[in-house]
């Protein structure tokens, strides 16, 4: 892919993000002090978990990740709401890729595509299927994250050999998604944790 096209896609994505941000959050009451602090904490948690898991080498399949950062996103999705989870997820991917030095590179695009597809899948299931459990939503998120990454890699590589790894990545993502889901479920069961998200709690 030529650098010009890559650059145009990057600028287009940034403009799209800004437009979506304004549309989603323009009437939101999200920006009180308490909410900002809470989102900041979850963002820091997601970044820390993301940086930690990026230090673990790919020993099972290429792009192997424990999906620890997704715990923070699932917690926000079920605890605070989808807008909060979306904001933290996007910021997390951007900041982690800046910190790792792969922003606007293939690695960064793979992370972004994985995040976008994963969040969209989790959101649709969470909104359309009220009885869906935390663990199931987390598993689907992990699964779609890997599928999104494979598809970006396929578009970048321009040949289908990369699909060889898909079944192995699906197996790993089922396990890591379940693990993250169990952690999120355990925390969300605790009243001392879900209290964080209640609006009426005084500081």
């Amino acid at each position: 892919m030529s650098p010009w096209i890559g650059g145009l896609i990057g600028i287009g994505a940034a403009i799209l993000f800004l437009v979506l941000f304004v549309l989603i959050y323009r009437k939101s009451n999200m920006f009180g002090v308490r909410k900002i602090v809470l989102l900041g904490l979850f963002l820091a948690l997601a970044i820390a978990l993301g940086m930690f898991e990026s230090m673990i080498p790919d020993f099972l399949v290429p792009g192997f990740k424990l999906g620890l950062a997704n715990i923070a996103i699932v917690l926000l999705l079920f605890g605070a709401g989808w807008k909060e989870a979306l904001l933290v997820d996007v910021l997390r991917v951007v900041l982690v890729s800046l910190l790792r030095g792969n922003f606007m590179t293939m690695g960064g695009w793979m992370s972004f595509a994985g995040m976008a597809l994963s969040f969209l899948g989790m959101l649709l299931i969470h909104l359309l299927w009220k009885k869906a459990s935390v663990i199931f939503v987390s598993i689907i998120g992990a699964l779609l994250h890997d599928v999104g990454q494979i598809f970006v890699a396929f578009i970048y590589m321009e040949n289908g050999a990369i699909f060889y790894y898909l079944p192995f990545m699906v197996l790993v993502s089922l396990a890591t998604g379940a693990l993250a889901g169990i952690v999120a479920y355990t925390l969300l069961k605790r009243e001392s944790f879900t209290r964080l998200f209640r609006k009426e709690e005084a500081d």
Binding site: S133, M157, I162, L174
Partner: protein, 131 residues
């Protein structure tokens, strides 16, 4: 306690079926791919969609090394009788290098960082063997 657990399972039957189906399908595919062998000994080395080289591994008598240009750096490939590997690569993950020697007809070796892929195909297109 057991009845509580079964109760919980019953409430999530649909989820269990969906995840179970995906698990079964991916295990089946993974097993098939692990044991599937292409009968060709011709390794096709591509940079994105462009074929750089085709090497008939059955005709390699001595180990030899050569470099191909990737997106960010040169990739050193080694071949010997019936085997090929990526010997050296400057990619951050080094997954392709850690794959080691891959036997003819086995799995592909992918370096997504540099856009290099090595795979075996029965349809070698009858092109001349280069390199």
């Amino acid at each position: 306690m057991a009845s509580k657990f079964l109760d919980k399972l019953r409430r999530h039957v649909v989820e269990i079926i969906i995840v179970g189906s995906i698990l079964a399908a991916s295990i089946t595919l993974a097993v098939v791919l692990s044991f599937f062998r292409v009968s060709s000994s011709i390794a096709i080395i591509k940079h994105h969609n462009e074929t750089i080289m085709k090497v008939d591994l059955s005709k390699e008598n001595e180990e030899r090394h050569f470099q191909v240009k990737g997106d960010f750096s040169f990739v050193t490939i080694a071949v010997k009788k019936d085997y090929i590997c990526i010997e050296h690569n400057d990619c951050p993950s080094q997954y392709c290098v850690n794959e080691g020697w891959v036997k003819s007809g086995e799995k592909p070796i992918i370096c997504a960082y540099n856009g290099i892929s090595i795979y075996f195909s029965e349809d070698s297109g009858g092109s001349a063997i280069l390199g």
